[in-house]
Symmetry: C2
Subunit: 133 residues, 2 copies
């Protein structure tokens, strides 16, 4: 018979919150980092205390979004969830939820909000050309 499943459920792809995302950012820039190094980056931007960063880090560890590696006294944190994985799934979620899975209306919205820079237009044009080839 199979081993009785212990409580450490794999939990699937737990969504990470906005505050947690802020903690991931420095890790995506460079890793591994200590809690203090992460705080140096985000605590000023968000006016957080080091304790807050640590709480968020432990939640991220619980969600298997970052890994820890002991380094003597402290821990080094490394992202497990890749940035592209995250931005990709969030983007898909938005398109699905708000635009019925169609990307064109999203694009139209952004255009209407004048959120498209000339650079964006140029890059997208290039991308489109590539895709239709």
């Amino acid at each position: 018979m199979p081993v009785a499943s212990d409580e450490t459920r794999d939990s699937g792809p737990d969504r990470i919150s906005e505050a947690e995302y802020a903690v991931m950012e420095p890790l995506w820039e460079r890793s591994p980092l200590t809690a203090l190094e992460i705080c140096e980056v985000v605590c000023s931007r968000r006016d957080w205390s080091l304790a807050t960063v640590k709480t968020l880090l432990s939640r991220l560890v619980a969600k298997s979004a970052v890994a820890t590696e002991p380094d003597g006294r402290r821990f080094l944190y490394t992202p497990l969830l890749e940035k592209d994985e995250y931005t990709g799934s969030e983007s898909l979620r938005l398109v699905d939820r708000l635009f019925g899975g169609r990307a064109a209306p999203l694009f139209a919205q952004l255009a209407e909000a004048e959120a498209l820079t000339d650079d964006d237009l140029a890059e997208m044009e290039a991308l489109l050309k590539e895709l239709r080839k």
Copy 2:
């Protein structure tokens, strides 16, 4: 001196949650609607009770996202927040948070996730042509 500000703060553009969004959808399709009519649309999809829909409606009213108009015994609900307003600001938020305000990387992500249909590509191409004119 200025009038002492009373407690009814205008509260600004309160964000609406995902569940609340589900209640807005039928209203954007057709309005005004009664709570029951809304439930007929969403309660099956989300496996909700009528009570849940009513709670969400009252939260939306509190956030000034929908308006009520008495109709004898019950209320008729009408959206105040327009769909485009919502999808637009959500889209902007996503682009800002995840892609530093640039839309091109978002589309690159979607392309990579193969979330762009041929129709999307065609529509976007047309729109691009329009925008660069």
